[in-house]
């Protein structure tokens, strides 16, 4: 239902957006609210062009965007690798599972910014601590999903493959990986959401670059239109990345129920 609406936008939705924008414009130009509280949509577009050309806070918009994207890519990719490998080991060793489950259960309950304050003590306030925080944020859902996925593979499937002579890497590649991949990809989507949230949090609190820093800095100087621009860009990043992961899901595992 939701998926269909993404491609064919219903008339009511268009009307809703248009009405909202008109109302926004009317309220903003009525003088009830100060310019810094709610800038007109047209002002936001003008300011976007200005920021796109001149940058903000000493960095161009593109640079800020790329700094955030690089942090995210570094944390996410290492988190996925560690999560999948660790999840595979935990799923296959009953003792490792019993030893590590309580620790993972505890760590997953700590808010990312609290983890960041520990990481800052260990690694300083540089990039490492932020990237490791993103790594942890991405790793835990991927790891949990991998463990779940491997544990719920039907035993007949593995035994059947074995009796047909498949073993070792072939078994891993064609049976275990292919059976677990749909769930792992779902875990990656969830992990992306967590580490993206953690990225914005870390950049807001403890950085002097990136989109999270920019949105917070702009609000301190009451540059409300820049705040709106950043929110739209951050939302666009999140939307595009999630859409890409969804596409990956349908391409890689077309047989799995689309989640």
């Amino acid at each position: 239902m939701r998926d269909k609406s993404r491609f064919a936008i219903p008339l009511r939705s268009v009307l809703s957006l248009v009405t909202g924008m008109v109302l926004w414009h009317l309220v903003a130009s009525s003088g009830w609210v100060a310019e810094f509280e709610l800038p007109r949509p047209s002002v936001i577009v003008e300011d976007f062009l200005y920021v796109a050309v001149n940058g903000y806070g000493g960095a161009s918009l593109w640079e800020s965007l790329m700094i955030s994207a690089e942090r995210l890519a570094a944390g996410l990719s290492s988190g996925i690798i560690i999560g999948v490998v660790g999840g595979y080991c935990i799923a296959n060793s009953r003792i490792a599972s019993a030893l590590l489950d309580p620790i993972i259960d505890f760590v997953r309950c700590i808010p990312p910014l609290a983890i960041l304050s520990l990481l800052v003590m260990w690694f300083g306030i540089g990039e490492e601590s932020k990237i490791i925080m993103l790594l942890i944020g991405a790793m835990i859902p991927v790891l949990l999903a991998t463990v779940q996925a491997i544990r719920t593979i039907r035993r007949e499937r593995i035994e059947g493959a074995r009796s047909l002579g498949l073993r070792g890497l072939g078994l891993l590649r064609y049976v275990i990986l292919m059976s677990a991949l749909p769930d792992i990809l779902t875990g990656i989507r969830i992990g992306f959401g967590y580490s993206f949230g953690a990225l914005v949090a870390a950049e807001t609190i403890a950085a002097s670059s990136g989109m999270g820093w920019m949105v917070w800095n702009a609000s301190m100087y009451l540059q409300t239109s820049v705040v709106f621009i950043c929110i739209v860009i951050i939302g666009g990043m999140g939307f595009l990345a999630d859409a890409a992961l969804q596409t990956l899901h349908t391409r890689l595992v077309p047989w799995a129920r689309h989640v």
């Binding site: 939701r2 609406s5 936008i9 008339l11 009511r12 939705s13 809703s16 957006l17 909202g20 509280e37 799923a91 003792i95 599972s97 019993a98 590590l100 309580p102 620790i103 505890f106 760590v107 997953r108 309950c109 700590i110 808010p111 910014l113 609290a114 983890i115 304050s117 520990l118 003590m121 835990i140 859902p141 949990l144 999903a145 779940q148 544990r151 719920t152 593979i153 039907r154 967590y194 993206f196 949230g197 990225l199 914005v200 949090a201 807001t204 989109m211 999270g212 949105v215 917070w216 609000s219 009451l222 409300t224 705040v227 950043c230 929110i231 951050i234 939302g235 990043m237 999140g238 939307f239």
Partner: protein
């Protein structure tokens, strides 16, 4: 606090789960893990392998805990900070559920409402809640109002979307059957739709609680005078590693308790979930 929908391996595969040890063996191994971790912590710090500023020994953390609990730290006792944080979480949770569930039920039952609200929801949802912090400060000032609103923003999408989808999944034959028995209007809504959706709604509420909890520290970092996040930032600024560890461990324990409590109440409230 990361929530992944947990499936019982036995329920999925129809086979007893031989890939996990039975609980009677898992618990001792868990104890081994906890004791091993504590021993490693103690020996590393007592042996002087790492600087106390990076990793204080367990006894230092315990002393910090004791000091914060009795004398207080950063303007309040540990219990005071904990209570302030818990109150914010509770208020945000009630507001999130109070707005999210009715909105989701209406969006799920009325196509017109859904189509009107959906585009706005799709615009707001992919943005991490912290990105709204700047706007909230401009609109609501630096206070508990904007803190709680931030927490609500962190939890709301999960409830609204989860509830909307839960209503969409109610089987048509169930509604038609109830209609044939003469149930209609509000009673239909209450008995059939709400009853069928409750398990999924509670799952989305649990995911929302996760979102709210992860936002807590961030919300309390900005100009709050009391709360665990305030304690954390004060300890970071004054380089008091003992306090930092106390708060991090406490937050983890708190998240674990909230998560387990919600799972438990989910089992109690909807024992029929997944049964028919």
């Amino acid at each position: 606090m990361t929530s992944i929908p947990v499936r019982d391996a036995q329920a999925v595969t129809g086979q007893p789960d031989v890939r996990q040890l039975p609980w009677s063996e898992r618990i001792p191994w868990g104890l081994v893990s906890a004791v091993g971790l504590m021993t490693a912590w103690w020996s590393v710090t007592a042996g002087g392998v790492v600087a106390p500023i990076v990793l204080p020994g367990p006894e230092v953390v315990f002393q910090s805990f004791w000091k914060a609990a009795i004398d207080g730290y950063a303007g309040a006792t540990l219990l005071g900070h904990l209570g302030a944080s818990a109150l914010r979480l509770a208020v945000a949770f009630v507001v999130t559920v109070g707005i999210g569930v009715p909105l989701g039920l209406v969006m799920g039952s009325s196509r017109a409402v859904r189509e009107v609200i959906d585009p706005w929801l799709e615009l707001y949802r992919p943005v991490p809640s912290l990105a709204y912090l700047g706007l909230l400060v401009i609109w609501l000032g630096v206070g508990d109002l904007s803190r709680v609103t931030l927490l609500v923003l962190g939890g709301l999408p999960a409830v609204v979307i989860g509830t909307t989808e839960a209503v969409g999944r109610v089987r048509a034959d169930r509604i038609q059957g109830a209609r044939a028995l003469g149930i209609s209007g509000f009673a239909l809504f209450r008995i059939v739709i709400y009853g069928s959706c409750l398990p999924d709604i509670l799952t989305s509420v649990r995911i929302a609680a996760t979102g709210i909890f992860t936002t807590l520290v961030a919300a309390e970092l900005m100009g709050s005078r009391i709360g665990l996040g305030t304690m954390l930032s004060a300890a970071s600024n004054q380089m008091e590693p003992g306090i930092i560890y106390v708060v991090v461990l406490l937050l983890g324990a708190m998240g674990l308790v909230v998560d387990q409590a919600l799972r438990w109440s989910q089992r109690r409230l909807v024992p029929w979930a997944g049964k028919f």
